[in-house]
Symmetry: C7
Subunit: 252 residues, 7 copies
Amino acid sequence: MEMQPGQMAYDRASTVFSPDGRLFQVEYALQAIQMGGTAVAVTYTGGIVFVAFRNLPVSSLAESGSIEKSFAIDTGLGCVTAGLIADSRVLVEFLRLEAQRHRITWGESAPFSLLGHSLGGHLQQFTQFGGTRPFAVSLLLGGFTNGVPGLLELDPSGATIGWKAYAIGRNRRAVADFLEEKIAAERTEDSAFRLAVQAVAEGSPTPFPPEALDVAILEPDSELRRLSAPEVARRVSGMPFIGTGERSKTGK
Amino acid sequence: MEMQPGQMAYDRASTVFSPDGRLFQVEYALQAIQMGGTAVAVTYTGGIVFVAFRNLPVSSLAESGSIEKSFAIDTGLGCVTAGLIADSRVLVEFLRLEAQRHRITWGESAPFSLLGHSLGGHLQQFTQFGGTRPFAVSLLLGGFTNGVPGLLELDPSGATIGWKAYAIGRNRRAVADFLEEKIAAERTEDSAFRLAVQAVAEGSPTPFPPEALDVAILEPDSELRRLSAPEVARRVSGMPFIGTGERSKTGK
Amino acid sequence: MEMQPGQMAYDRASTVFSPDGRLFQVEYALQAIQMGGTAVAVTYTGGIVFVAFRNLPVSSLAESGSIEKSFAIDTGLGCVTAGLIADSRVLVEFLRLEAQRHRITWGESAPFSLLGHSLGGHLQQFTQFGGTRPFAVSLLLGGFTNGVPGLLELDPSGATIGWKAYAIGRNRRAVADFLEEKIAAERTEDSAFRLAVQAVAEGSPTPFPPEALDVAILEPDSELRRLSAPEVARRVSGMPFIGTGERSKTGK
Amino acid sequence: MEMQPGQMAYDRASTVFSPDGRLFQVEYALQAIQMGGTAVAVTYTGGIVFVAFRNLPVSSLAESGSIEKSFAIDTGLGCVTAGLIADSRVLVEFLRLEAQRHRITWGESAPFSLLGHSLGGHLQQFTQFGGTRPFAVSLLLGGFTNGVPGLLELDPSGATIGWKAYAIGRNRRAVADFLEEKIAAERTEDSAFRLAVQAVAEGSPTPFPPEALDVAILEPDSELRRLSAPEVARRVSGMPFIGTGERSKTGK
Amino acid sequence: MEMQPGQMAYDRASTVFSPDGRLFQVEYALQAIQMGGTAVAVTYTGGIVFVAFRNLPVSSLAESGSIEKSFAIDTGLGCVTAGLIADSRVLVEFLRLEAQRHRITWGESAPFSLLGHSLGGHLQQFTQFGGTRPFAVSLLLGGFTNGVPGLLELDPSGATIGWKAYAIGRNRRAVADFLEEKIAAERTEDSAFRLAVQAVAEGSPTPFPPEALDVAILEPDSELRRLSAPEVARRVSGMPFIGTGERSKTGK
Amino acid sequence: MEMQPGQMAYDRASTVFSPDGRLFQVEYALQAIQMGGTAVAVTYTGGIVFVAFRNLPVSSLAESGSIEKSFAIDTGLGCVTAGLIADSRVLVEFLRLEAQRHRITWGESAPFSLLGHSLGGHLQQFTQFGGTRPFAVSLLLGGFTNGVPGLLELDPSGATIGWKAYAIGRNRRAVADFLEEKIAAERTEDSAFRLAVQAVAEGSPTPFPPEALDVAILEPDSELRRLSAPEVARRVSGMPFIGTGERSKTGK
Amino acid sequence: MEMQPGQMAYDRASTVFSPDGRLFQVEYALQAIQMGGTAVAVTYTGGIVFVAFRNLPVSSLAESGSIEKSFAIDTGLGCVTAGLIADSRVLVEFLRLEAQRHRITWGESAPFSLLGHSLGGHLQQFTQFGGTRPFAVSLLLGGFTNGVPGLLELDPSGATIGWKAYAIGRNRRAVADFLEEKIAAERTEDSAFRLAVQAVAEGSPTPFPPEALDVAILEPDSELRRLSAPEVARRVSGMPFIGTGERSKTGK
């Protein structure tokens, strides 16, 4: 990130605007998110596919399944994250708690946009009050409105925006352009899965093994289903940029 | 914003006056608001039209309806905002809660000026107490007094001012001049709508598609009605500066 | 305000004296008040006239009545303010609450000097404790002792001083000198009104329209009566410096 | 106040000693007190006279009686202050509350030395704990022990010292020397009054009108009696340095 | 650690991102961990071996058993730590308390991954809130899922990652490479023990005596069993790099 | 106090050690104590004599008795102080409260060493926690164990040390040397009194009047007895360095 | 202590790691401990001897017994300290309270290692949370396990380590080497006593009188027994480096 003269005077607290009205700590948090793996979500008729690239340690000793990028929130509610792992987990806990609170109060799943705005308000606090820093997480929250899938993107500022399909994390803009260019008007689970995998591959400069992918499917009235490693391997076999021979050599 | 010598000594806390009595963090928050889209409200006999420009991401994948600029507060109460999205939502929540509190206590809708002064007091706290920053939001709050529409503008300082029609956000001054010049003494819903749309177009350097407009109508004794995208498209068709072909290329 | 060498070492917190015993943040708050419009209060046999200049936005779209400078506190109690609008409103709320508290406890209107000292103590806290700034407001509080009108001036330091007639805000010293020179020993409501208006005009470098004046009359045992725009226009017609043609061009 | 090299490193917090063991903020508070008017208290057989110079605004519009320098605390208890007006009032409130607390608990007036030490402890807190500043007030507290008058001086450090007669505020040392030189062993109310007025006059470089003097008499078993303006004028007529013609031109 | 220009502007608080999105205090905590001894955990069919190098003081007076690196958490739950001793103990207390809380609430041992994520959330707080520093501890938490052993690594950021076998502390990368290279697909307790000891020896530049090793075995449904010094000595006798003659001369 | 290079980096908070392990604020507090008058305590068979030099203002108007250096704590418990007057009073209040608390709980006078350690713990807090400064007081606390007198010295660090006789305040070392040199093995009240007075005189560069001495006697089972001014004058008459003619000219 | 370039940027808060992972305030606290007297503890069959050098003031007036270095905690529990006296006392109070708490809860003496880890956790807080400093104390805590004596060393970081015999304070390393070299496998109370005294003498550059030694013996099931001055004098007579003639001239 190119620094401007004087920038350093305003960039060390969430509670300070720069003269041109910027909150640098929020921008730096976005920078931290860019350092993590790409994550993509694509809606299709009846569901949502979440695919995320895991920064696998360069070791066969690692349990790849322990690096979670997609999370079940409640029945018909799930999300995929990019950014700091520990920050992500804190936000997922927030979402799960809010979802349970709504369920207990109203006896039904929380609408995903309500949940998203609630999380947005939580994120905003960390951009306005002192003694803390913004969360370094972008998140695509998925859910359904009368069976129609929807996605809400949240970033460190707490802003929300809805998408049919979108990308967060490394190379987010290029991957989103790829999605927009390749996406079909009608999408099945399979075409959405393939599109999402290809998009994540677009964001990666080198081939990677199937276990580098965290894949999950969300359908109405059921929990997020994370695909097992063998299932992912089977479904991606033959797709470009994915292979077992050339493990990416980006260490933890 | 042109910096004066010595300005940097006083511009990093809401709790510090500069030697000439300025609160720079409040001014910088106004600067942040200038970076967002223009929003306009115009009263007419029996109602208020709110029109705001959405900074649409350059992507057909985005759900334009998810970027809300106008918000229902309570029966006969609504607002349009300019500035940081997450900050706006926090203030809208404040207004809704205050409105409910008034309704529960007094059994009637809160007068919009009472609500506005209450919000002004809330905004002021963030310009006087440390460990925080001002809200980067301007807001036009609309309501009715005996059926007569009124607008109250709020800015980051917490100051309030009443208007027949006004503009906030990008190019606010030029758009307000346009409004003053073109406004008719008597206004119907339709003439107010057209005036508001033209004013927003004045604030935009390039043509934009209809879905870039968030349009809402407020009438007494009913909730704010946000116009659907097709309804907006139908009503603006043929107006200058608005078209589907040349999407503005300002990214998110 | 001319800065002295070394001044900047001591001028960024209410909690720090300079070596010569000054509290610069209090002085800077006074500077902020100088930037607002002049306000004048003149007592007369049986009442008090409050006249304040409103910094009207340069727009016919503004509701001039929404810019309040004089405020009713309780029966026979009122004030006029100069300085930051949002700060003023916070102090007026303080006065109203204190007045109600006194009424509920003692079953009578609070003596205006008691109320003023209470507000003075509140203002003082903001000059002694950290994490905040002084209020940028001067205020003339009016009330009656056995039917005799009195005025108490409050400034950001929390100091109080009583007056027969006085001015706050822009050009306060010159306007006060004008008042002292022109004031008659005996004053009727009308002569006090005319003196106050002329004094405010003295503080203004250019002619202004009648709606730029916020005028209010306080009499014992009744609420502060703010004059309607037409009533003001009627009573000031023919007075120098006031006219409809040459609107002052000081924007909001 | 002459600054020493390095002084600025230690002079911006009450909680920091300089290498030679000084608390600069306390010294600067004393400097602030020097800027206010002189105040004098003189005991005599059976009572105490308090005389203070009011920094009258240069205006006949001011109510001189509203600038209070001497304050009743309780029966047979009173004080005179020098320094910041709003700070003084806060301390007077403290004394009044402590006096009432003692009366309610023990059914009698508080001994003035007990009250003084209690105030001293309060003042000390503001020299030891952070986030605040010392009070810029010196105060002479008067009371009686078995009918014998006594005075206790308090300064911003919270230190106390007893006096037969003493001066605080502007030119305190010179005025105290004057008192010591002129004081008679036996003093009546009138001789004490004249001595106190002459001492205050000593502290003033120019003549001043009678209403510039705040005069009060304290006797055992009664409230402090503040002399009315005419009574003061009558009693000082003919004394040097005091006159109506040459109003001192020190503005507010 | 090589410093970059400007790094020092962002590296003194957990609550500040650098412009490229880094949290330097977390990175410096990792640096502190590198200064401590290597610790290794290796799973095998039916259990986990923990081996850690103790930085023994150079003195026969020390009770080597008092330097604990592996800790029992609950039945079938244990961990090994690297980094600051006192920080480690605080985290172990956290884990023990969480485990008891789970046992009391649910009547069973806590799943080790649940416990690990709970600790991860705790660690994260110390990277986001001010007035504190991250914990300088890495930790390998071991437990069982249906009798199958598992390991979760936690670092100062609060991130978690699962392993079959892994190393923390000094020379962690080299030791982990050694593990990956030498590990057999099937492992008995003995082969896992030998692998772990050899791996720790890899991380040490010089020979060390048996008592420098803290060895513990974790099996399902029983407490972590720390091997006695004689038992360790017996089992490592004859292994390279380990001997009694050449005590490492790294003082406390 | 000679400053070392780099000292200023570590000397502005009680919560910071310098690289060589010093707490400069504690040392500066000791410096403040050196600026106050010398105080001496000498035990004798059956009692303790406290003698302190009062920094009398240069004025016959002062009530010398109002400057207290020795204080009764409880039956058979007393102390003498050097340093800031207001700080001393706060500590004396602490001691009195602790003594009452002990008496109420246990029905007997508190052992003086218990009381001293309790005060030491209180003083220590002000050297370890932020937002405050150490107390600038040294104190000699006296009491009896089975009728045998004892003295405990407390300084700003909270350290305690027992003495048969000792000096605090200005020229403490020289005065203590004098005491050690002149003290007799057996001491009566009178010889202890004379020794203490001579020691205080040793610490004073110029003669001083008897009323400059605050003298008190503590005996078991009775309150501290402060000698009246005439009694002091009578007992010191004829002693060197003490006289009425040459009042020391050190102002307040 | 040699400073490295850049060290000063990281050494003024317990809450900040340096780039190489050091906590400088903890290191500076250790430096403060080095400035105090040496203390030694040696276990023997059936007990522990604690010997500490008191920095006696150079005065026969001091009560050497008032400078305590060894402290009874509970039956069979005691400690010796080095470092700041007031800090030590705070920690001893912590240990005594914890011991009582354990006794009340479990009806038995607390195991000394449990107590030590509890103190270690307390010390750790002061190295991680802001607004405070580490304790400048090292401490050897002694107790028994089934009658076998044990020692636990605690330092400002909160780390603990067990010893058969050890030294803290001035010249700690040299004294510990002496201990290791001279210690016999089997030790009686007398041989342990002589070893400990000789070790303390090793840490002292000059001879010192017997009363400079604080000696205490701890045996199971009884309170720590501090030896009286005559008893110490009797037992050390004839030992080198100890004598009455040449009092060490290190002042307080």
